[in-house]
Assembly symmetry: C2
Homo-oligomer: 405 residues x 2
Amino acid sequence: MALIVQKFGGTSVGDHERIQAVAEHVARTCRDGHDVVVVVSAMGKSTDDLLALADKVSTEHPAREMDMLLTAGERISMALVAMAISGQGVEAASFTGSQAGIITDTDHTRAKILEIHPGRLRAALDEGKVPVVAGFQGMSTEKDVTTLGRGGSDVTAVALAAALGADVCEIYTDVTGVFSADPRVVPKARRLNRVSFDEMMEMAATGGRVLMLRSVEFARRHGVPLQVRSSFTWEPGTWIVEEDPTMEEAVVSAITDDISEAKLTLDGVPDRPGVAATLFRQLAVRGVNVDMIVQNTGTNGLTAISFTVPKTDVDAAREICDAVAVEIGATNVTTDTGVGRVSLVGAGMKSSPGVTALMFETLYEHGINIEMISTSSIRISCVVRAEKVGEAVRALHTAFGLDAA
Amino acid sequence: MALIVQKFGGTSVGDHERIQAVAEHVARTCRDGHDVVVVVSAMGKSTDDLLALADKVSTEHPAREMDMLLTAGERISMALVAMAISGQGVEAASFTGSQAGIITDTDHTRAKILEIHPGRLRAALDEGKVPVVAGFQGMSTEKDVTTLGRGGSDVTAVALAAALGADVCEIYTDVTGVFSADPRVVPKARRLNRVSFDEMMEMAATGGRVLMLRSVEFARRHGVPLQVRSSFTWEPGTWIVEEDPTMEEAVVSAITDDISEAKLTLDGVPDRPGVAATLFRQLAVRGVNVDMIVQNTGTNGLTAISFTVPKTDVDAAREICDAVAVEIGATNVTTDTGVGRVSLVGAGMKSSPGVTALMFETLYEHGINIEMISTSSIRISCVVRAEKVGEAVRALHTAFGLDAA
């Protein structure tokens, strides 16, 4: 008998039939002798509907009120899921983030969980009930309703699993697991049975769309085994676990792609200490999310600094670059929104020196120019033209032997 | 400068344009120098939509989960109204029933307010903000989310007005006030400028659809002046206040009608003590809401007992009557769903003995047979055939001089 946290995303509870399917699955898990805590997102597109209403009502959207509005979505889905589980003959009780004891900071619309007091959930479990908890939400230290930002429901699930000492946190979604590449880009992509937390974090950070970096980090820090599964097929999905040193590792586990970022370049930058610090401090102050950074060794005492940011941050970043360029005497600022990134991720890469070479050769053979390179011990990322990303991912998937038989 | 509680019903916040109109009105009241606390219902038909979803998802509807589900409705409207008020340049902050300190018993779907701790609302007012409070909901002594049942948002508004010592509680709805009769039945019905709590309670109890009995009782008990107004025209509505002994009272203020009830009759009932007690105790135990009761003096030691119940309670009432009839030896039970009730309400009736006679004469002249009669000091109700109710109301409206010029 295990304690299992089962998290169901928006598509998994998208309509009444999906909710009934979820309830059947939860009831079956209970009948198999396990204790279950359910975490739910808002139904399908309901969050979008609420956002559209807010836009119609006012141009002023105080963050505190947006959180109050959006948390109505999970309130609906959690009550419906609890009813549907009751309809399966298993007692269930729904809990808001506040009732589940999820205490956050006061940073509305992107709050961080500070602590969890799961007393009411434990009491419900002790009474033989299935607690159904609203994902994505909590209560701030000021006793206001908060939301946890993008991917927040996964964070709720992982954090509850950690707080309750659950044996596993199952993330149910609309795909059957984590793949060796995005199946829409690479038809021959394979589902992975098992990836390490480190690999999953690199994948999440470089375009993997199944899990947000934040929840994987949280799971690794607290040692919560994750399983990503489909609520449509219920087949076993992908385990995300601590790396097991006794096992042989795949050199490359997955190829990820990402065309959501833009590249900015400052040319003719005086190559002296403190220049990069000035730039990136100001970007940080403005809340611009910088991802890759590349600085070449300069000639003639001049260098170039390139970095990527989410396309939504391009205007803010450009403004700062223009100002900093004047301040430090850079000659030129360019913005490029036509870039994409392709990344190799694999825990076995650490001990396989030929990976970088094969990656570059493969891209060269396909006539794909590399504009920026950045590496970690288990990842290599290349920035290329956005329109070449699909071809690059497919070519690398084949070259590294990942294609399904 | 006054403290005003403004309550807006479902049609008043039915869409984004209505919400903006409400926000403008609230902002104008603030600019006139008043402090405002807003109470809102769920938007238009949103509660019906949620109920339909619950039916689709499961046949099991635990009351606790229904409350969790339905309270999502006000959460949406209150956040939107707060945003819209902010859009008018007036700071606003929304509060759930729990955050507003509304503590109820644990009787889910029809909880009663036990106490109110309006500390957060006072703090918001002190900071110059407009608190926007979810109507219809509270938090139970078990820290679960509860709803207050039908007319619950009005109760919230009145209770908050009492707890905050507000100068007036304004109830905004889709009619312009309280009328001398239902304008759909009597085209010549007039809006009343002023009715007493007692009159309003009798009207609410006999088919007046503007306010529920419960909120009027609450307002009278706590001395909260009520004003019923339209959020569509914003014209001055009807004041509901303590009777003022110095003023001349209208003999009859309003004629109400109600065809929502059915009549049950037990014939051949042995006329001995305890018989009525047996019957009405069992009806009470089953939660059947008995309204009018008439028992005739019997002949031959036998009597007849008739009473009315909401049509929704007819089956339960019939079952009990059949069982009790056997127990007490009554000869016959009949159910009649074709009845209606017409009532005269007026505080001046107490000192005008001719009212009853004029009522009966008027009905007689129109060939309308009276099946049951019940009176209070300021009300006379007659049960007649349902299809005669409209004609009866119009005739009485004319006979008592209520028709608009």
